[in-house]
Subunit: 356 residues, 2 copies
């Protein structure tokens, strides 16, 4: 059977002060009236019944996410004692699925993305599942629309054919976050996609790759797997998980994997990672402003205001991001939005735990 696994384990530090340790990004209503996690589930419900949608998240966020999508069975929430990166999260989901159905295929998604063309997205997943069942590790590629230096890129290799209207390419090479010149060149070529972080594969294929490329982690995973469905499970994962090396699926598996295919999809995809990404997603008014909450402005342009209960008043500002929450206010020019992560680090170092 086909399953979807939504990775919802991050906290989204670059969306501080709205995202917090107790209120992760995926639980926020950043776009419209649904949270990022609800959007992620909504998108795939036409393709997967709730009992075949699994969620990997951290213990402390489980209740919050369960409440947001009560139609998902509680046992479908796979809890990590702590986040160890995408490779361990995917590995953990894989052993859970393998126990349910050794021949399962899995679609790995995240709650970080916003997709305007959800139907095209579902078509692409359906095509990708066909390719995955033949043994390929499939990744969805996104046609670059800007010379972003914040994404990884995929260089398309040989065309493997067309499935349900989607061209399928062998992955020639994964390219780490490039500099601007390289990014511009790749954007202007048709041979490159952004690495979306969405993967489709058979469970047994990804487990083979873990065994071959991350043998130490695979052994740890195997130990956890022996306790699945037993009273020992919780104690075992709690003991082993802190010892698991942090690793991303890209570095840990994809870059060295065999039989990797990419399906480029044009589906209005945005990685909602930082305040700047909202600026590209939400409609601006005539002054270029995106105003959420109560705002009164004089000479205010190209500014993102995310309000809460208070009035935000701006005079003569240009290109600012202003985010107001119950207990913290952020003021930051758009072009410095990546430094929000630095701000969170600074708060950590300063021991300002109440604002983390």
């Amino acid at each position: 059977m086909d399953y979807a696994v939504i990775m919802a384990g991050g906290s989204g530090t670059r969306l501080w002060p709205l995202s917090r340790q107790h209120r992760p990004k995926q639980a926020l209503k950043l776009i419209g009236q649904r949270t990022m996690f609800q959007h992620a589930v909504d998108r795939i419900l036409p393709l997967f019944p709730p009992e075949r949608i699994l969620v990997v998240t951290r213990n402390e966020h489980a209740t919050l996410l369960m409440e947001q999508v009560p139609e998902l069975p509680a046992e479908n929430f796979i809890l990590e004692p702590e986040g160890r990166g995408t490779a361990p999260a995917i590995g953990l989901a894989a052993i859970h699925l393998q126990r349910r159905d050794p021949s399962a295929s899995m679609v790995v998604l995240t709650a970080d993305h916003y997709i305007t063309e959800a139907e095209e997205f579902r078509h692409a997943l359906t095509a990708a599942l066909h390719v995955a069942k033949a043994g390929q590790l499939v990744t969805l590629g996104i046609k670059p629309t800007t010379p972003s230096t914040g994404f990884g890129y995929i260089h398309h290799g040989a065309n493997l054919g067309t499935i349900e209207g989607f061209p399928v390419f062998r992955v020639e090479r994964f390219i780490e976050k490039p500099n601007l010149d390289t990014a511009t060149a790749m954007m202007n070529s048709s041979e490159y996609s952004w690495n979306s972080g969405m993967f489709i594969w058979r469970v047994n294929r990804i487990c083979e790759e873990f065994e071959r490329q991350m043998p130490q982690f695979y052994a740890q995973l195997a130990e956890v797997a022996t306790t699945l469905g037993t009273p020992l499970y919780e104690a075992t994962i709690s003991r082993i998980w802190p010892k698991v090396t942090k690793q991303t699926i890209d570095y840990g598996v994809m870059e060295g994997a065999e039989d990797v295919a990419v399906i480029p999809v044009d589906m209005g995809w945005t990685d909602v990672g930082s305040w700047g990404s909202l600026l590209t997603l939400l409609p601006a008014d005539d002054d270029g402003n995106i105003l959420i909450g109560s705002h009164v402005g004089i000479d205010t342009h190209n500014t993102l205001v995310v309000g809460d209960k208070r009035l935000i008043a701006t005079i003569g500002v240009q290109g600012l991001v202003i985010v107001d929450t119950d207990d913290a206010v952020l003021v930051c020019p758009k072009e410095r939005e990546q430094a929000v992560r630095e701000m969170v680090d600074k708060l950590k170092q300063g021991g300002f735990n109440q604002w983390l």
Copy 2:
């Protein structure tokens, strides 16, 4: 006897969102742990006992101010049903004083000023009272330290002598808020002072001027005066005051008065009218920032942060004023601080009464 009259009737719109209709500027702790009104009283207590300090304020602010300085007798608070400008406020205080003591002298002060050299200020008042008793209308002049276009200026005329070490000049002319060139020329000359808005005169002298120069107002004032100390007083002032023409003491009286003298004083005077004035008053840190409340900054320079309960986090900002209160946040570059008044007007026009 000598009396002090503190005019505390304004609301201070340029200090929004900290100053509000229900929380006027004079009731705010802008500098240190005392409110502007408390500072105003503290400064003159060595010179006037509490029973000879009167306060003119608006009905709705009376309780707040009384609580702040409980040593002032309640009957010394002279209440205006609504503000009609400085001339009517002073006229009202004058008839109250005249009833107590027809030969009284009065020192007219405001709660808008901060004075670092309070002792020099009191010396100047003492000298000015001597001059006032001889029949002069005396104003304290401030040596201009910047070519401010926001103040009125006074052109010194003939030197009338020196009293207690202070030179006294006839006022040659009052000059309205000048342009920058004129302001610069006046700053560089020793013949000009800023008009501080602090006056010293005999009550009967100022009443003569009201009678001569503002006869309509004087008649209104006389009608109120006949009811002083009677049960009719409140009804009478409530009926008459809304009909009083708004007028400043400068336009209404001083510019056309006879026997006007100025005593220039160097006493570390600041008109605390806007957020910018706090920037000149409060000590900045090494980055030029003035930070009140909780703040964490990255690359933040020359910025005024007035916090309340929340954390204010700034990244890459320069020359901003950020003021956070319970229900509103203001973000505004320093050089636009005068537009805060415009913001308050805009809120009024928009019917956003909760934030006024």
